[in-house]
Subunit: 403 residues, 2 copies
Amino acid sequence: MTEFLKVVKYEEAIDRLKACFPPQGIKRCGLLEASGRILAQEIVGSEDLPAFNRSTVDGYALRAGDSFGSSESLPAYLTYQGEIKMGQAAVIELDRGQCAWIPTGGMLPIGADAVVMVEHTERLGDDSVLVYRPVGPGENLMLKGEDVSQGQTLFTPGQLLRPQDIGLLASLGIEQLDIYEAYRVGIISTGDEIVPIQVQPGPGQVRDVNTYALSAAVKDCGSVPNSYPLLGDNFQDLKQGVLQALAENDILLLSGGSSVGIMDVTIDVLLSIPGAELLFHGLAVKPGKPTLAVKIKDQLVIGLPGHPVSSLMMFLIICRPFLIADRKQRIRVKLTQNIASQPGRDDFIPISIREEKDSEPWGRPLLGKSGLMSILALASAYIHIPYEQQGVLAGSWVDAWLF
Amino acid sequence: MTEFLKVVKYEEAIDRLKACFPPQGIKRCGLLEASGRILAQEIVGSEDLPAFNRSTVDGYALRAGDSFGSSESLPAYLTYQGEIKMGQAAVIELDRGQCAWIPTGGMLPIGADAVVMVEHTERLGDDSVLVYRPVGPGENLMLKGEDVSQGQTLFTPGQLLRPQDIGLLASLGIEQLDIYEAYRVGIISTGDEIVPIQVQPGPGQVRDVNTYALSAAVKDCGSVPNSYPLLGDNFQDLKQGVLQALAENDILLLSGGSSVGIMDVTIDVLLSIPGAELLFHGLAVKPGKPTLAVKIKDQLVIGLPGHPVSSLMMFLIICRPFLIADRKQRIRVKLTQNIASQPGRDDFIPISIREEKDSEPWGRPLLGKSGLMSILALASAYIHIPYEQQGVLAGSWVDAWLF
């Protein structure tokens, strides 16, 4: 049994992974397929949107000045010139004292500079309209180019495309765009005490949790998980399994094989592959000291701890940020209690969040039993206590990452 | 043109939708397929986990009492009895003054009640071990049944299955489980000014944003979007399109056809279908007054506003909560500025979130131009000002729903 030769700091590990993370493929896809994916190109507004001045209400287009001074008791009196039709050019031209019916979304006629809502008007017969409230120039209008102006940079590569982003792209008529391809992530559980979940464990044995939890976590990142059969610590079997998974994936997650004991075989196997380079072996991180990373040409193998909670947490901490545009995930919470932390180690601690009405969001650390999967199932986020800190005081604001 | 006959409150609309939301199918699936889906059954622990007392460290199993009083200068001296092998029953029995090597995850031998970490020990030759630090009973152990105890209710129907939940299910050997089937949601854009995104809009025309934004939003909820060609306000065409979409979906979203003007035709079409029942028509909600819902037997048709921002917002506000187990979505923010709101209306306002180090999370309302899709693309969440409130003061804590 060998001890970890040189334990690496969390930040250093992240830097090394960042420098070596496999390049991501780019593919062209249709707009609908792009939702929930990461944009791989810049998007510049190709035209003004809206392309014309549009009404945002149902009402009458007019010159704002004609409504000035109007009130319930003394309405303005305008001449009705006709109706603007949806989806058609506004052929009516308005002069002083004139108005035209305009529907929401309709094109503002020439001469008009505002719209008064129908609720504040009254139609008198065929040719006149009373206006009971003044409107300012530009009121109830969306002006040409106000949403998007031609030449404006709207999105840059790396942006997660949400429904409203897809909507904005649709409004520009963008049918096809470049997105990053999903990473293919191979998953192999190792460990002599692990049995497939279909098997009733004998004394001293436990079921293979990591293949399932890691596959779900990889899928949750928008990547494609590929799971492989359990492997023991036999050099030949392990090497064959690793080579097969590397041939079929961009990234390989090995779990269990990096704990002291069978990690020697794992490292021997990985470093026996031509081009392999050890990035780190042993992290100053709790939970997850026995974590390793090996770069093999353009590919990356990450060895995660065998313990399921540590394995999942380390995946979330050191892999997820590279797989996913980490939006939506970070929130702020105020701690309910002091947390002690050993300096010289980055601590990651699961928390539950209590969000009461009229109050700040409180984060309660799930200490003590945090190694239990059932506790992780109760947690809604985790917090990070950096390397140099001895702890965090109750009432402090901290970042929390949602599971 | 008819006005809204009776505008309904947001809460009332939600209650009516809740009572009429289509029943969701249940299907049996494999554990991996279940990740990210909603559980449709109760899960009770079928056995104790762990099934045996396990070590959480590499070290020596011993009787805690034998380590009491030990220190760097005065270590305890124990007799080495052999090694516990991973994945095997612990065949060694320990007596007073004895210890055995145990790896992380190994099964605690009979007679032992604690494990001392290898870092705090020294092996002397073949048959003795020095212990430099006392351990208490139960230290460095995960006890039988501590993670899951037999008969314990672990999950109830309606739970979103996250990676750690999948892990917990794997640890119990659950290979198959019941999940709710995804809703099939039909999407039809209507409106005379709308053209397909492939077409260059003429004067007064705009591209069909809603089909794309709503499809992306439906997909984001874990449901299956099915989009249909654009329809105009012709009764026969609209009816044929609606009937086709109803035959192929659980829920139908119509956008545009509910605004004053062409909404009459939409309502006529919907109410001409046998079994149709109007749930509401007109909501006291900003944005989205022109929203309607019709129940048709077990199905639901929701008419959303034609304006893309209102359409997407109303989908998020009144449909998403029913499609998705709305976890992760709600956070708390402190408002940067006063927001005025008209009483007698529920207001939903997009915000951006500023999360500075050592500070509370601040929410900045994106007012004024909130009808622009480009502003929604900058927003990260929205807040809700209830019906009876006249506004919210700067510095107040409010709920925010992440997009």
